[in-house]
Symmetry: C2
Subunit: 185 residues, 2 copies
DNA sequence: ACATAAAAGCTAATCGTTTGCGTTAGATGA
DNA sequence: TCATCTAACGCAAACGATTAGCTTTTATGT
């Protein structure tokens, strides 16, 4: 049975905070389980028992930081909304910090749960944009999955596998292409 | 100056072989640097010096195993060739072993060189298929980058971020969509 | 052949990781 | 409210991985 409240919750919050603080202060290279434990006021064995190893802990923290903190802007039309969201998505994900979080999230993730969460975040944002288009009465917009396949996936693939050749212009082409396709061109 | 020949090459081959053997015999969980070193007839410090840590070594080995070992089949036409290649690509990459290699390749890869190599392998295979179409005199085939964005990227994205919902049918749709788009629909 | 230096071997000290066991916080039900 | 039970934590010892310093081997260029 789970024990979400009380001490366990405090330990989790304290450890996560310690990771973020030390990451900001000394960089990820310097992170070790004993170091995090000391900052969090916890013994190393507690971390090993709860998270298994440093990578799984970093994965948890990374997913938190990849959660979108704002809704996509409403610029009055689907094309503008989707383009703006995709450009912001690229900015956040392709930054040095963003790449590090993506890697961490994928890394210490035996069952794929954390990676799935990242994908779900993006899908939810896309849904918001598409829902708005639907409410406006726009027609011919693409399915959520089409946007995931033809905008989100290429961006993430390039971030992970081809660190160069990413630009706002590239993302705009992807969005335009996804929209054109859905309108029957 | 580099010293590619002789002892260094023997050590590299021996260590790589040891990784593959132990991985097959005992599974990746059991792998440690001292264990690999012992099997390879090498001291641990040699491995630490050349590869840094176990992850970077595994990343090197994983890239080797992700190198395509056969050319894409020639079935007489672009659509058939590309579809067949993409289905095989999905099979190899989405298998348990394939996912493990992809993860390893991304994992111990500070500068992104190994990940870039993986992408280059896929791009080369796509080029072979497209070159053949060009030689046949087919027209209206997509650019290499279009195939990477709309076929390879979605497949890899789903493998990494959404472990379910992958099927040969899904890949066929991606290929068909990429081809339709390039012919002006 | 000889000189040079890159890469590997060796050893010891350090540090991270794992594990067993006792203790405590806090959830549960009378 | 109080008694009880247990998951989670602290502690400390044992273990294994990593690093540093030094020596030895051996490609490579002259």
């Amino acid at each position: 049975m789970a024990r979400p409240g009380g001490r366990s919750a405090r330990v989790q919050a304290s450890v996560h905070a310690a990771v973020r603080e030390l990451e900001a202060e000394q960089g990820r290279e310097a992170l070790t389980v004993p170091l995090v434990a000391a900052r969090a006021g916890v013994t190393p064995s507690t971390i090993y028992r709860r998270w298994g190893d440093l990578q799984e802990l970093l994965s948890d923290v990374a997913v938190e930081r990849l959660r979108p903190d704002t809704e996509p802007a409403d610029l009055g039309g689907l094309r503008a909304d989707l383009t703006a969201w995709a450009e912001q998505f690229l900015d956040e994900m392709s930054s040095t910090a963003g790449r590090a979080y993506i890697r961490d999230a994928l890394l210490g993730d035996p069952d794929g749960g954390n990676a799935g969460q990242c994908s779900a975040y993006a899908a939810a944002q896309v849904d918001l944009v598409l829902d708005r288009a639907r409410e406006r009465g726009e027609s011919g917009f693409p399915a959520r999955e089409a946007v995931m396949d033809h905008v989100v996936a290429p961006v993430m693939y390039r971030i992970l596998f081809r660190p160069d050749g990413l630009s706002a212009e590239y993302v705009r082409r992807l969005v335009a292409s996804a929209l054109d396709r859905s309108t029957g061109r």
